[in-house]
Amino acid sequence: MSALTITFAILFYLATACLVGFTARKIWIYAKTPAPLKIPITPAPTTRRGVAFRMLKELTIFESLFKSNKWTWLFGWLFHFGLLLVLLRHLRYFTDPVWAWVVFIQPFGKYATFMLLAGLAGLWGRRLLVDRVRYISAPSDHLMLLLLIAIGATGALMTFVKHTDIVALKSFFIGLMTFSWSAMPNDLILIVHLSLVILLMLIFPFSKLLHAPGIFFSPTLNQVDNPRERRHVAADWTTKIESSMKSTRAS
């Protein structure tokens, strides 16, 4: 077994553990931190079903962003939808036999690369050119876009310019998943692509990429607007204060 295979096998195990472990930890923290008060933001739905619909709109069409800024919305949506299609297309490396719907979306996923790259380029352009967005950007905000662009570009190189050995790559990943390792193809572009992907996986739980799980826990978006109908009591620490206050209050 080559050093390359061993290195990447270990790195992928580590990166996966980090991604899953630390993201799960964050999700757990979000879930157990109470939302003591009702703070849904207008237009706030008055039913659970309404909240689900609102969330669905935020997740799929970025409704608030659309209201807010059409260019950011356009680039952001191109990027995320492109990313989604690309990642779904990637499922073929990890499933055997490949699911029928994954086979079906292969051509879409292939060209979604251009959505992804165009979106990222647009977002980076805004970050560089609009003085307000430039002001709020830390180096990491630029580098994050650069990283995604580099991943997309190396992927596109393999897809459209210099193919890699997909069959071997697939058996490498299936091998990782079943703990019966097989060799990883020695292909420079692929090595770069995968190294960057590992970096992304390592960064995810410690960066603003937490917006992906975070959005589900945003009280302004996920609360039902019914404070008068249902008394909202969600936090231990508020009930503690309350009992101490009520007991000291004049009859």
């Binding site: 703070i39 237009p43 008055t46 935020e58 709020i136 830390a138 945003s218 978006l221």
Partner: protein
């Protein structure tokens, strides 16, 4: 500290997003609270020696107490969508007044002390140590946020800068750096019962005077009761309604509505304040203390309903928080919403035809309506989403023949703050208040020019005070801001004692149609 000279911004025909002018508002800061005021609320009297350590501990504590804070600090992607949404940025051009930049003043400290990336690579991720300069920036810029939540509407994750401002103010109070205006007022409300520090005899006196004035003007004895046990409704209204213009005309309006609908009501001298500045400083405990006074008053007076007068943030605390802070209200009549807004009461009565209205009495005005941020974005009225937009407008249209809306980007959920909310309604912040009013002034000017609008109605005590103060800077006159219930008060046709009910019902149905 002398109030700095400043130029009133120019009103443009179309809203323009300004270019950044760094630190132009760094000098804007409210007076600090003196030791005595601080200690009354349980905060240290002045900046404590180990303030850094205590501040960081407090930040850690707040992260565990508020999911909003924890999620918002992690989730912002710096997309920039909110950068042009804050009236204070639009009015001042100071980049630290962009919502995300304001959050970042707090976030960079959070990152430094609470995240792995910020501990290891502070420069890379924009993390910073908590230094004296940072604290000064906090004091300045977290008192340039009116907690209006406009940014939250436009953020893809609903990140609410108000939550972060509240947290920052709470941290500052904890280390002994409190704001005079808010903390002084909270102290008064907790001991005397209202923000003005108006004691019971003065309140009773004022209301008796009002009763006489109204009787003189209308020939009808409209009552303004205080502490009347067994009344049906306890009215909780901002204390500005007792003396300030144009607030007081609103109070007269509520009294006339109750009078004509034959609803017995009372004010409470113990809880003579709707406003709850505890919210502005992010202090749950202080907010709850004030809320519990209302509960106590309702129990002591044996009322069946609680109704709130025209006040924006008070309605947020009432609608969204009161049940949590001081509930359950199982001793009140469950057939009415608890609590209820005066606009809901009036609107319901208009729909039932119980008010006799003559809208032509307001024919000298062309009216527009300013959605107050806390009503528009942090609460609701009626039983449908958006009721807080429709109900006040329907009332105005029922009592007034000439109504127009301001441009759509400046109303309803997109409404611009008056510039004085969130505990900033103080003379030491006048420059900020004038500049922050710019987007609303532009929107108003556009309907004044196009439709000849003469008056703007509002249902918030802070908005009303703020506009009467800043209108003159923009060449409007201070009496162009009016209370919504002032319009109702003008239009309501009161019958002299004795011959009210039957006849008026038919008439009112015609009027309300």
């Amino acid at each position: 500290m002398a109030v700095a000279e400043f130029d009133t911004p120019e009103l443009k025909e179309y809203p323009v997003i300004p270019h950044l002018q760094k630190d132009v508002m760094a000098h804007s800061r409210p007076f600090e609270a003196k030791a005595e005021l601080q200690e009354k609320l349980g905060f240290p009297g002045g900046l404590i020696d180990n303030w850094q350590q205590v501040a960081i501990e407090k930040m850690g504590e707040l992260n565990k107490k508020y999911r909003s804070l924890q999620v918002y600090l992690d989730s912002c992607v710096k997309c920039g969508a909110c950068t042009d949404k804050c009236h204070y940025y639009l009015g001042t051009s100071d980049p630290k007044n962009m919502p995300v930049a304001r959050q970042d003043l707090y976030r960079k400290i959070y990152r430094r002390y609470f995240t792995i990336s910020g501990k290891l690579f502070p420069k890379l991720v924009g993390a910073e140590d908590l230094t004296e300069e940072v604290l000064e920036d906090w004091y300045s810029y977290f008192h340039q946020c009116s907690q209006c939540r406009r940014c939250s509407v436009y953020c893809p994750y609903g990140i609410d800068t108000a939550e972060i401002s509240m947290a920052a103010r709470e941290v500052m109070d904890t280390v002994g750096k409190g704001q005079k205006y808010c903390n002084e007022i909270i102290g008064k409300a907790q001991t005397i019962g209202n923000n003005l520090g108006l004691p019971e005899p003065a309140l009773v006196n004022t209301l008796e005077g009002l009763e006489e004035d109204v009787e003189e003007e209308t020939g009808v004895k409209v009552r303004f009761p205080v502490d009347e046990k067994g009344a049906e409704v306890l009215l909780i209204t901002p204390s500005a309604d007792f003396f300030a213009e144009p607030h007081i005309d609103g109070l007269i309006g509520y009294a006339k509505v109750f009078h004509q609908a034959k609803i017995s009501w009372t004010l409470s001298s113990f809880a003579s304040e709707a406003a709850n500045f505890g919210m502005f400083i992010g202090s749950y405990e202080n907010m709850q203390k004030l809320a519990l006074r209302i509960r106590q008053a309702a129990i002591d007076l044996g009322v069946k309903r609680i109704v709130f007068g025209e006040c924006g943030h008070a309605w947020r605390v009432a609608y969204s928080f009161l049940n949590t802070l001081a509930g359950p209200f199982d001793f009140l009549d469950q057939n009415y919403p608890i609590p209820q807004h005066i606009c809901e009461v009036t609107h319901g009565l208009i729909e039932e035809g119980k008010l006799t209205l003559d809208p032509s009495r307001n024919d000298d005005m062309v009216v527009t309506y300013h959605d107050s941020c806390n009503v528009a974005r942090a609460s609701r009225m009626g039983d449908k989403p958006g009721g807080q937009f429709e109900i006040p407008r329907e009332i105005i249209k029922a009592v007034c023949n000439h109504y127009v809306d301001m441009p759509s980007h400046s109303i309803k959920e997109g409404t611009y703050c008056c510039g004085g909310g969130g505990g900033l309604l103080t003379d030491d912040l006048i420059e900020l208040r004038v500049k922050g009013a710019l987007p609303r002034m532009e929107a108003l000017k556009s309907v004044v020019d196009e439709y000849g609008v003469t008056h703007m109605a509002a249902i918030c005590a802070i908005c009303k005070s703020q506009f009467s103060k800043v209108f003159p800077y923009y060449n409007f006159s201070m009496d162009q801001i009016i209370s919504l219930h002032q319009l109702v008060s003008n239009a309501i046709v009161l019958q002299p004692e004795g011959n009210s009910s039957e006849g008026s019902d038919d008439e009112s149905q015609v009027e309300a149609a």
